[in-house]
């Protein structure tokens, strides 16, 4: 069997409002509702609604032969409920076809796995409950924030009963190996690991409309010819990308939706590839071996490491101070406090504090509501200082 596995990440953070020093202790609302709503509406119109319709049409056309998977963060679901119930309905329709798998992740798209197993498990459970409530399904495969993975994170996930986990097919962990096989966790072999084929994924997600790219324009025939050129023994091609690729990062005018609509037909016509969901792959294939990842990897930037979110002084100070509060938050057990604590953990807040803009500048700047990482840090710390005061007062 040779198969393509599509997984799309759906996430929107609760962006923070401009929070000044003078607000500390006086104002306990941290989020920029206007911006969050307008971004959600914009992305809904440009991406979520047309892309969902495209996939629904494809599923209706190809029946059992076309399948995809989504991972939708809890904070994105919350914002769909608040600002875009129409989008949530269309996702529900997709899931109801039975051809769409929903993956598990942390509720707030957080980096909690790196800091607190307890909080990580709490958030996974929260996400599980939310997905069950909204879509009526129970995920079996796990996706950690930004595809962050290490052997020990895989172990946590296996212990929670998940059958599979997906991550980046980072060159430095694969070495001579190919991402186009199923692997298993190095500590607990029961957990299967799917690796992203970043070359073919990024051809669609990043390079599709790049006129300087020697392969421009990308046609479905060309893409399928690349699939056919793979070693015939290779079994799976994992195409993992942000869902916002469709219509937001690659505008509709680039022809990205036409590419999507034509791809399954080209695959069936010119190749022997099928489409599968991650859990089908985990069920049906045997792993070829264990993948060893002692230090965390992610799908970001050239380095495929954590440095987009953690590592510089600003990020570490913010991150460490945030997680220091866990015991107190738990002790208080106040619903408002839990909620803010959750939303403050979203990885995007730390991403905005990244200072290595010069190598991967374009992507980082594109998503950043702040003028500089320093501004992002000061704003976050002002809010965190207020949050700490609330914890002390209660």
């Amino acid at each position: 069997m040779r198969t393509i596995c599509f997984y799309f990440q759906v996430h929107q953070p609760f962006r923070l409002k401009r929070y000044r020093f003078f607000d500390i202790g006086n104002d306990h609302y941290y989020f920029n509702d206007f911006e969050n709503k307008s971004i959600m509406r914009k992305v809904a119109e440009k991406c979520y609604l047309p892309a969902n319709q495209t996939f629904l049409d494809l599923i209706n056309e190809y029946g059992d032969n076309f399948k995809i998977a989504y991972s939708i963060s809890g904070v994105a679901i919350d914002q769909f409920e608040m600002y875009a119930p129409d989008v949530l309905e269309s996702f529900k329709r997709l899931v109801a076809t039975g051809k769409v798998e929903i993956l598990e992740e942390t509720y707030s798209h957080s980096l909690s796995a790196l800091k607190s197993r307890e909080e990580f498990e709490r958030q996974v459970k929260m996400h599980r409950d939310k997905v069950k409530e909204v879509f009526g399904v129970e995920p079996k495969v796990f996706r950690n924030t930004e595809l962050i993975y290490a052997d020990w994170i895989g172990e946590y996930v296996a212990d929670m009963g998940y059958k599979g986990m997906i991550t980046e097919g980072a060159k430095h962990i694969l070495g001579w190996k190919s991402p186009n096989y199923l692997y298993c966790n190095a500590i607990n072999p029961k957990l299967k690991v799917l690796l992203k084929n970043f070359k073919l994924s990024d051809d669609i997600a990043f390079r599709f409309s790049n006129r300087d790219w020697e392969e421009f324009p990308l046609t479905t025939e060309k893409f399928v010819s690349w699939l056919n050129a793979l070693d015939p023994k290779e079994e799976i091609v994992n195409l993992f990308m942000d869902y916002e690729t469709f219509g937001e990062h690659q505008w509709a005018e680039t022809g990205i939706f036409e590419f999507l609509k034509a791809l399954p037909n080209a695959v069936f016509k010119y190749s022997n590839f099928t489409f599968s969901t991650p859990s089908e792959i985990v069920e049906n294939l045997d792993p070829v071996g264990a993948i060893h990842v002692p230090h965390p990897i992610s799908w970001a930037d050239e380095e495929r490491d954590l440095t987009a979110w953690l590592g510089n002084e600003l990020q570490d100070e913010a991150f460490n101070n945030l997680y220091k509060l866990y015991d107190r938050v738990k002790e208080l057990n106040d619903p408002d406090v839990w909620k803010d604590w959750l939303y403050l953990q979203t990885s995007d807040h730390f991403y905005y504090m990244c200072t290595k803009w010069f190598s991967d500048g374009d992507v980082h700047k594109y998503f950043n509501p702040y003028d500089s990482p320093y501004e992002a840090f000061v704003n976050f710390m002002n809010i965190l200082s207020d949050f700490i005061i609330r914890l002390e007062k209660k």
Binding site: F21, D27, N321, Y374, F377, M381, I389
Partner: protein, 427 residues
């Protein structure tokens, strides 16, 4: 007495103490019946004009004829400052000049076109150009107005002051609010230094805002001591509405730094002292209000020291926000590496905030009720902050006597001395 005064900023549009000082001084001078034409590069229209006639340099219409005069003045040495004396104009006019037509003095008298100069009024990248163009306008204003003395504030306006002097023949006073050595340490910008020195050499009197500055002027610029007079700055009395005093959302005491976050102001020493205090007493918060080229570095340092939940950055504050900040503060620290004067501690004392100032500041010459430390001695600074926070007797005393002390510092007194300088020049 009528004074033609050149400034760079005027309240409420200020980026530092210069505008505040100009306002206080002109207000003080009005007590002695001295009339002032105050020229700024850019007027916004909402300045307080009770005491001065504000002339926006950007509103001066220069016609061709005036440009001929420009050429005439160009013969004077001082105007060699700029090949960049050319103002913004149409490419066509620009070309004409470069064809030498203006310099040839020929065919312009008939075709009159008027062009206004555009000033950004800020310390932007075309600063030298703006300084030079400002001088061009200054000469025009000097030629078309009546006055007895010219008074120029800081190097940005010295070219203007010299131009005005050369056109009118009136005496020139230049006012050193800061020297290039204060701003840049030993890495002075030679171009700025040259303009400063040229201004002081051309001047009939140099006013220094402190003895500290006077010493620098004499030692590092080689200006004759007899020409240099010290006139300390003062502070405008303010009465604060009560509503300011409710804005603090927490109980910890606040230690404040307020000023440009630049080398000159010593923000790094403040942070190191903060770390020492927080280590001893976590129930205190530090605030750095202001912006500047060292801000990002300071934010990073605070993160690195792990004190970011106790050390806050409030950004650049203006107008009422400054007094809001003071009303929340328990101690004000001015750790300047080199501060010609430093009005902000006086403003803090007005608001009942005890102050710690560096010995390397001009204001320390006039204040008795302030703790004085060496800017580099962060242990001493931390000690002073801790004492001010914890020993109520100390802070009470500084508040009480400090307020009395600043209330006796009046702009009228400073203005009186400045007025005496004018008088000595016109006889």
């Amino acid at each position: 007495m009528k004074v033609l005064m050149f400034g760079w900023e005027f309240p409420p549009h200020i980026t530092g103490g210069l505008g505040t000082a100009c306002y206080g001084l002109t207000k003080g001078l009005s007590h002695f019946g001295t009339e002032i034409i105050f020229v700024v590069p850019k007027a916004y229209g909402d300045e307080d004009l009770t005491h001065v006639r504000l002339q926006n340099a950007g509103d001066v219409v220069i016609t061709e004829r005036k440009k001929e005069e420009h050429e005439f003045w160009n013969n004077f040495k001082y105007f060699e400052v700029g090949s960049n004396l050319i103002p913004y104009m149409d490419p066509e006019d620009f070309a004409k000049i470069f064809e030498g037509k203006i310099f040839s003095h020929t065919e312009f008298s008939e075709q009159v076109f008027a062009s206004k100069f555009t000033f950004s009024g800020s310390y932007g990248k075309n600063l030298y150009e703006e300084v030079a163009r400002y001088a061009l306008i200054a000469a025009y204003i000097a030629a078309t107005n009546e006055f007895d003395v010219i008074h120029a504030h800081d190097w940005l306006t010295y070219s203007a002051g010299i131009a005005a002097k050369n056109v009118s023949g009136k005496p020139l006073v230049v006012h050193m609010h800061a020297t290039e050595f204060d701003r840049s340490g030993d890495n002075v910008n030679q171009k700025v230094y040259d303009i400063e020195r040229a201004g002081m050499e051309a001047a009939d009197r140099v006013i220094a805002v402190s003895n500290l500055t006077r010493k620098i002027i004499i030692e590092k610029y080689g200006i004759h001591p007899d020409k240099v007079v010290t006139v300390h700055n003062s502070v405008e009395p303010v009465s604060l509405p009560e509503e300011f005093k409710i804005n603090k959302g927490f109980n910890e005491k606040i230690v404040t730094f307020l000023g440009r976050v630049t080398f000159q102001k010593g923000p790094d020493y403040f942070i190191e002292a903060a770390k020492k205090v927080i280590d001893r007493d976590p129930d205190v918060r530090f605030v750095m209000a202001g912006s500047g080229d060292m801000l990002n570095k300071m934010i990073k340092r605070v993160a690195k020291l792990g004190i970011a939940t106790k050390f806050h950055f409030a950004g650049f504050l203006k107008g009422q926000e400054v007094y809001e900040m003071f009303s929340m503060s328990d101690v004000y620290v001015m750790p300047s590496v080199s501060e010609p004067f430093g009005i902000s501690p006086l403003e803090a004392m007005m608001s009942d905030v005890p102050v710690i100032i560096s010995k390397q500041s001009g204001v320390s010459e006039v204040l008795r009720h302030a703790l004085k430390v060496d800017f580099w001695d962060v242990d001493d600074m931390a000690d002073a902050i801790y004492g001010m926070l914890h020993y109520e007797g100390l802070s009470k005393m500084f508040k009480k006597y400090g307020k009395q002390e600043v209330e006796n510092l009046r702009w009228e007194n400073s203005a009186y001395k400045v007025n005496e300088v004018y008088k000595s020049l016109i006889k």
